[in-house]
């Protein structure tokens, strides 16, 4: 079996009866980088802590390399956890912190020192190996935590918002390091974050969670272009969403009647005719046409009816991008960005009438039931 980690119908109910995690199913392949993404309180950290053994599992099973570990205490599990606050041992030097996990395994001193030095070197920590940790910078401490977690060679490294306490620049730098490290080591990473950009850049697959439930498990690109649920569409990227009813369906295209017209999109979980549905259009797929240059019918023909009139509210040039805010009929507004060369035009100035359109293949239809 090549699964490093499996969660089978895992559920967690707190002592006071509140459900924290509901029916979580996931298979993680060896060497995969998985992110749990969701707003705070969605159950992502609870799930991670259940994998680490810090929280009891109320129902379901957790398997690591095919072995059920539900009742295994944390110190026996082949996992290692990295904490947001680093959780370094303040009374030990950097070297002692990193070597401690090997000490308790009873490893010989020489072998331990070699391993510790190797990982310290890899993470650029050799210079500060004998310092105590509390005076070091956030980035250094996070690297120490990583070294300490990795040196014990866990099957799975669990990371609980490890970059949350770092400033933006440092976060970017360590993100890149982390990705590289994971690829080199080939260890499975399970990474909890509430920052979508972090999840989108780092992971092979993302588990989007909301209110204890898994909303979608997909590769980043797919999550972006083919959201499964309205929550995912709202949480990831910038999407415009219309409610409507399915008029007509086939495997390729679905027609949805909305208060603003009949639009066509690509079905995700094929909703059947007559059912209520949502059509989700990513901002990146919207095209803007000045109202004077073309008629609505022309656009409509070209874009299979996917056209809407609106008014440009704002068009701010920021470097090479134009940030635009357009109010659509019905009062909803969309935010989008485009390149200056295409969108800095006199007939796209604020208060000009525009038409927005999109291609059917770029819009996703999901059932709203």
């Amino acid at each position: 079996m090549d699964h490093d980690l499996q969660l089978l119908n895992v559920g967690k109910v707190y002592d006071n009866g509140t459900p924290a995690v509901i029916d979580f199913n996931l298979d993680v392949k060896k060497g995969e980088f998985i992110a749990f993404l969701g707003p705070s309180g969605c159950g992502k950290t609870t799930t991670l802590r259940m994998i680490a053994g810090f929280e009891d599992i109320t129902s379901g099973d957790i398997l690591i390399r095919g072995r059920r570990i539900n009742d295994m205490p944390p110190e026996k599990r082949p996992t290692s956890m990295i904490f947001q606050n680093y959780a370094l041992f303040p009374h030990m030097s950097v070297r002692q912190n990193v070597g401690y996990g090997l000490d308790v395994k009873g490893m010989a001193k020489a072998e331990r020192d070699t391993k510790v030095d190797r990982i310290l070197d890899k993470l650029g920590l050799l210079d500060i190996a004998d310092a105590l940790t509390h005076k070091l910078s956030g980035g250094q401490r996070q690297r120490i935590a990583l070294a300490r977690g990795l040196v014990v060679e866990p099957d799975i490294l669990l990371l609980d918002e490890p970059l949350g306490a770092l400033d933006a620049n440092l976060r970017k730098a360590i993100q890149a390091e982390l990705k590289l490290l994971q690829r080199n080591l080939g260890i499975t990473f399970v990474f909890v974050t509430h920052a979508q950009s972090e999840a989108l850049t780092l992971s092979d697959r993302i588990v989007v969670m909301n209110q204890g439930r898994v909303e979608q498990i997909s590769a980043p690109a797919e999550l972006y272009t083919r959201p499964n649920t309205a929550f995912v569409a709202q949480f990831i990227g910038r999407n415009t969403i219309f409610d409507g009813t399915v008029l007509d369906e086939n495997s390729e295209q679905v027609k949805v009647e909305t208060p603003f017209g009949i639009f066509t999109g690509t079905p995700n979980k094929s909703p059947s005719a007559g059912r209520s549905a949502k059509i989700i259009i990513p901002s990146e797929s919207l095209e803007i046409h000045p109202a004077g240059s073309v008629t609505r019918d022309q656009i409509s023909a070209e874009y299979s009816g996917n056209v809407l009139p609106g008014v440009m509210e704002r068009a701010d040039v920021i470097g090479h991008l134009v940030q635009m805010s357009i109010t659509l009929v019905g009062g909803s507004s969309v935010l989008l960005e485009g390149h200056v060369e295409k969108y800095r035009r006199d007939d796209l100035k604020p208060l000009s009438d525009v038409l927005i359109s999109w291609k059917s293949k770029n819009a996703t239809v999901i059932s709203a039931g």
Binding site: A52, G53, F54, P73, P74, E75, K76, R77, T79, S80, M81, F83, N85, A87, L88, F89, P90, H91, S93, Y100, G101, V104, K105, I128, D130, A131, L132, H134, K135, A145, R148, G149, V152, L158
Partner: protein, 281 residues
């Protein structure tokens, strides 16, 4: 404007506070240097001398004033305070550790523990003496009195440790577990070093509270007296400055305990600072 009023008022208040806090000790200290054996425990000082200190240590020629009958009491009190310190601190650390997770009936248990330092000592002492009589247990300083000392000092140790654990970041323990360190070893090697300053405070509380405990011991200790009881006993005959000299010596002993405490407390911090300075250089 305000500070010109408040500052003098506060300094007078502080002065009075210090006067009442240390005044008795200063008076005691001065009188302990009265001449002997004929000088009494009152002003004026007839002649400055260290006679009474020599008397405490039995270095003076025999006179009509008998040596203080307190040396066995001192040994008992030190032993008792040491035993109490160890037991109360161990209990305090363990029970505070138990209170880190809420358990069924934890509120009730909390109040039961704290009750030990709230109830009037004379009543508990008397109560235990009665119970001991009924059950037929001999009252001893190392038995019945020891139990009462632990009941009295354990809540202090418990509350100190509760406050320490309250600020304790348990993710370092979780980090140790996830590195494969067993919970017991984690407690010894990670938790305990981090809570050690609190443990020292708890020990200091337990020791000093037990060392000069009077009311509980009075009824519960039986025939053999502890130091506070022995000193109190000397008052009923005649007071000589030798008791003051002894008082000064025990106070110095307390100061040295505090000094040991302070040294132990700052040692780890200073070491940490030194390493940090080396790091900066």
């Amino acid at each position: 404007m305000q500070t010109t009023v408040i500052k003098p008022v506060l300094s007078v208040y502080t002065g009075l506070f210090l006067l009442f806090l240390y005044g008795p000790f200063v008076v005691l200290g001065i009188l302990s240097f009265q001449t002997g054996p004929n000088g009494g425990p009152q002003f004026p000082i007839i002649e400055w001398s260290t006679y009474w200190y020599q008397h405490v240590f039995g270095l003076t020629p025999p006179s009509r004033i008998a040596p203080l009958p307190i040396y066995e009491g001192l040994a008992r009190s030190l032993t008792l305070a040491f035993m109490t310190m160890i037991v109360s601190t161990v209990l305090g650390v363990m029970s505070a550790q138990a209170f880190r997770t809420k358990f069924k009936g934890s509120d009730a248990v909390f109040y039961l523990i704290v009750l030990g330092m709230m109830v009037p000592g004379v009543l508990v002492g008397l109560g235990l003496a009665l119970v001991a009589n009924i059950v037929g247990i001999d009252r001893t300083w190392w038995g019945t009195a020891f139990v009462l000392h632990v009941v009295y000092t354990f809540p202090f140790a418990f509350l100190v440790m509760l406050a320490i654990f309250n600020r304790f970041d348990s993710s370092v323990e979780e980090a140790a577990w996830s590195l494969g360190v067993s919970p017991i070893k984690t407690f010894r090697k990670v938790t305990f070093p981090l809570i050690f300053p609190g443990v020292l405070s708890a020990m200091l509380f337990a020791f000093t509270l037990s060392y000069d405990e009077f009311s509980r011991t009075l009824f519960a200790s039986g025939r053999d007296l502890t130091l506070p009881l022995a000193i109190y006993g000397t008052f009923s005959i005649e007071i000589h400055p030798n008791i003051f000299a002894f008082g000064v010596l025990t106070t110095l002993f307390s100061f040295s305990l505090l000094a040991v405490y302070a040294v132990l407390m700052t040692a780890s911090l200073r070491r940490a600072k030194r390493v940090a300075i080396q790091e900066d250089a």
